[in-house]
């Protein structure tokens, strides 16, 4: 709360972004406390990680300090006041916090909690709801990410410049750092794969894995320079990977259609429904992971590509 308040007052945008990162991290801690482990994991990776990195890159490209305020804050305050009043008004009749008898816990939830482990066969109920019952939302979510990647490409493109030539390093040539990072990256990737394939049992899944995997590349970029990382993972391959992820996800659904079942009905994928569910979830999570990884790295390339002088288009 305090963090948020300070963030509003500050004129130094760098500090604001840092505070935003802390704020996201605290939110993630709060989610842990509220039993939402998957959400906490994602918020930490996305809010405190990706968003903060993107905001910092933007600051590098624009200005660090905000101009002095010249605006009349009355109207915005009024609008915010009305909105806040509406929220409080609405929450006055809301069920007590944590009340197990609240309607939210009565209608749909019991089946997800009681039956999903046998119907879908996955212990993590979040994964089974996400990937199977509401799997179509998740396809939409993957499409949102893909759209964001396209939008960034449309807006910024991935520019080539002097930094992309081999031999230039982002951080100085420190042997110890390079060795440590190389080992570290191996672990990060391993961890990402674990998160990818272990999402059925514990927290995590394709989205988180994709983010972590992309992070490994970002770190590699920071230490070894862009040229090397672009040789390992060239930008045009990322486009193909991002598309491949969607094809894998939607393709799984199309296969189930050809097997005479509705779109994304994994029961049809194998003789035994639970087995089919397992296979389906594995495939679509892989699709999500691939797209997320490719898009996040694309966005990172696009932002870092803007950093250097270039020809005016």
């Amino acid at each position: 709360m305090v963090v948020a308040l300070v963030a509003i007052r500050k004129n130094d945008l760098f500090a604001v972004v840092m505070l935003f990162g802390i704020y996201s991290f605290l939110t993630a801690v709060l989610f842990m406390d509220l039993d939402a482990v998957d959400v906490a994991f994602t918020e930490a990776a996305v809010g405190a990680g990706i968003s903060t990195v993107l905001m910092l890159s933007t600051l590098r490209l624009t200005k660090r300090y905000e101009a002095a305020r010249r605006r009349n804050p009355i109207l915005p305050l009024l609008v915010v006041g009305i909105t806040g009043a509406a929220l409080i008004y609405g929450l006055m009749d809301a069920p007590q916090f944590g009340d197990p008898m609240a309607p939210v816990h009565q209608h749909m939830a019991p089946r997800f909690i009681q039956d999903s482990p046998t119907e879908v066969g996955v212990p993590n109920m979040v994964t089974s709801v996400l990937a199977s019952y509401r799997g179509y939302d998740t396809l939409g979510e993957t499409t949102v990410i893909f759209t964001a990647g396209l939008a960034v490409l449309l807006l910024l493109g991935i520019r080539e410049g002097q930094n992309t030539r081999p031999g230039r390093l982002a951080i100085g040539d420190t042997l110890v750092l390079r060795v440590v990072v190389k080992v570290l990256i191996a672990f990060i990737m391993l961890y990402a794969l674990y998160v990818q394939f272990h999402g059925d049992y514990g927290a995590g899944g394709g989205f988180q894995a994709g983010v972590i995997f992309a992070t490994a590349f970002v770190i590699y970029d920071l230490v070894f320079g862009e040229a090397d990382v672009r040789r390992v993972m060239p930008p045009h391959w990322l486009g193909r990977l991002a598309a491949a992820g969607i094809f894998l996800y939607a393709g799984t659904g199309v296969v189930s259609m050809f097997l005479g079942a509705p779109f994304l009905d994994y029961n049809a994928l194998a003789h035994d429904p639970v087995h089919g569910q397992h296979l389906g979830i594995l495939l679509i999570e892989l699709g999500v992971g691939t797209t997320v990884f490719a898009v996040i790295l694309t966005i990172f390339y696009a932002f870092s590509g803007m950093r250097r002088p270039h020809q005016v288009s």
Binding site: L91, R111, M257
Partner: protein, 500 residues
């Protein structure tokens, strides 16, 4: 399941799958061909779908095979099928029109990504239209919004960037409000399926939470559909976007937002609650009137024709809001009909402007001088679609305004009827300004201007002829609108009487 059972998902799935495919091609032309094929096949499927709905009633499709409310369902009724038909038809026509227009406005290396984003925008709008799940609306809303921000920013003027940013901020606030609203509904009912919500809401509808949720949803969609005074993002966004994008968004995006609002207001909350217990009917009438008068007035003074028509869109949305606010069978039918007619008029007008921008590189009103002779077919299209916008008898625009006036007179609100006519008068002035410049202005010396290419003229004229056709034959369009409203209000007569 047979092939035709999959139609609901196919409408959305085809563009969703073709979009990533199109983005992979480096040649813009291949991407265009793919996108064209995708939109036309979606259009065909949606024709079959509407036919099916008209013959057999609401079509349902359980995604993932899970029955609602646990799974997400696609649900197509008459209104949904109707709006879906509009969206797919406009997308297909605009892409047919757009190849050369886009080629002249978008850099070659961004073209395939541009087409992919266009398809995703279409995917999002189609998905919003036929889903039966409240949260799924939010997801597809964001697909269409994110891609439209990018599409708008591709305009050549740098103001397009600022317009896109403003739209992003307003749009995201709107989407977040919608998310809060859905959260409140979910909090009190424990479900996200629309039909299930409608069933479970009456028991808890007399709570603050539901009333607040209602308010958040209304404001959120109000932002997305540019309901006065939440319309400030719209004029610049439409004015500076690439021509094909303006044509597509003006004819579809706000329409789908209106449709979603109707779905939530009438389909979930029910007319008795939405327009009766809550004072929304009066608010909609007041805002609708304000939109008609102020936006039309601003439109009269615009120098850029694209901006003028964008303000006119805000005014037309006012007519639709007014129709909804009347809360009667006839008013609602007029609103739905106007949604359809307005898509046709604005689609034709913005495409024609695109054709002119393609030839003369400008959409400023004084540059139109003499175009009546030099681009006769394009200008004739603008003239006819403009007459429809005013509401001259014999055009589609007349029919919906006629029913709107009937609706007001039915309730004895004759000052409203007079103001609607005054709005038409203002439309007469701004359309008149365009035509005056084009037909009576003296052209600039030494500039050779040719008629637009035939591939642009055909899609424009399809819409123009549709404008005339539906102005003379009202059975199909008004009949459909009437049935759609009946469908939405199964007990229309009784609930609406309670509402008054």
């Amino acid at each position: 399941m047979s092939f035709s059972d999959h139609f609901p998902i196919l409408v959305v799935l085809i563009p969703l799958l073709v979009a990533p495919l199109a983005s992979l091609f480096t040649k813009g032309r291949t991407a265009w061909a793919l996108a064209l094929a995708a939109t036309w096949s979606s259009f065909l499927v949606s024709c079959f779908l509407l036919k099916d709905v008209l013959a057999n009633g609401t079509v349902r499709y359980y995604l993932g095979g899970w029955e609602p409310p646990w799974g997400i369902e696609y649900r197509v009724d008459v209104l949904g099928g109707f709006v879906l038909l509009i969206v797919t038809a406009i997308a297909a026509l605009v892409l047919t029109f757009g190849r050369r227009s886009i080629k002249s406005e978008i850099p070659e290396r961004r073209k395939s990504i541009f087409y992919a984003a266009f398809l995703l925008c279409f995917t999002g709008l189609a998905g919003m239209t036929i889903t039966g799940d409240a949260f799924n609306v939010f997801v597809f809303l964001e697909i269409s919004s994110l891609s439209s921000y990018a599409l708008i920013s591709m305009g050549r003027d740098r103001r397009a960037l600022n317009a896109a940013f403003q739209y992003l901020i307003m749009g995201s606030i709107g989407a977040t409000f919608i998310l809060i609203g859905i959260g409140f509904l979910y909090m009190m009912t424990g479900t996200l399926n629309m039909d299930d919500l409608a069933e479970r809401l009456p028991a808890v509808s007399d709570t603050n939470t539901i009333r607040a949720g209602f308010a958040f949803l209304t404001v959120g969609f109000g932002l997305k559909l540019a309901l006065f005074p939440l319309h400030l993002w719209l004029p610049n966004a439409y004015a500076y976007a690439p021509s094909a994008v303006s044509a597509f968004l003006a004819a579809t995006a706000t329409k789908v937002a209106i449709y979603s609002l109707l779905r939530f207001l009438l389909g979930i909350f029910g007319a008795g609650f939405a327009l009766g217990a809550m004072p929304l009917d009066m608010i909609l009438i007041a805002l609708g009137l304000a939109a008609i008068l102020s936006a039309s007035l601003v439109a009269v003074f615009q120098k850029n024709v694209k901006r003028m028509l964008a303000y006119s869109s805000v005014a037309q949305i006012g007519y639709i809001a007014l129709g909804i606010g009347l809360a009667s069978q006839i008013g609602l039918s007029a609103a739905v009909l106007h949604l359809f007619n307005h898509a046709m008029m604005k689609g034709a007008l913005f495409m024609a402007l695109g054709a002119i921008a393609f030839r003369i590189g400008s959409s400023r009103i004084e540059d139109f001088a003499g175009l009546g002779k030099r681009m006769p077919f394009t200008m004739a299209a603008i003239a006819i679609a403009g007459l429809s916008l005013i509401g001259i008898p014999g055009t589609a625009g007349f029919v919906s305004k006629w029913f709107l006036v009937l609706g007001t007179l039915e309730q004895g609100l004759w000052p409203l009827a007079a103001l609607i006519l005054f709005g038409s008068f203002l439309a007469l002035i701004y359309v008149g300004r365009i035509l005056e410049s084009a037909y009576f202005g003296t052209p600039k010396e030494g500039v050779e201007v040719r008629e637009a290419p035939i591939e642009m003229l055909i899609p424009i004229w399809i819409l123009v002829i549709a404008n005339i056709y539906f102005g003379l034959h009202t059975d199909f369009s008004y009949g459909l609108a009437e049935r759609a409203v009946m469908d939405l209000l199964p007990t229309a007569q009784t609930t609406v009487e309670v509402a008054q």
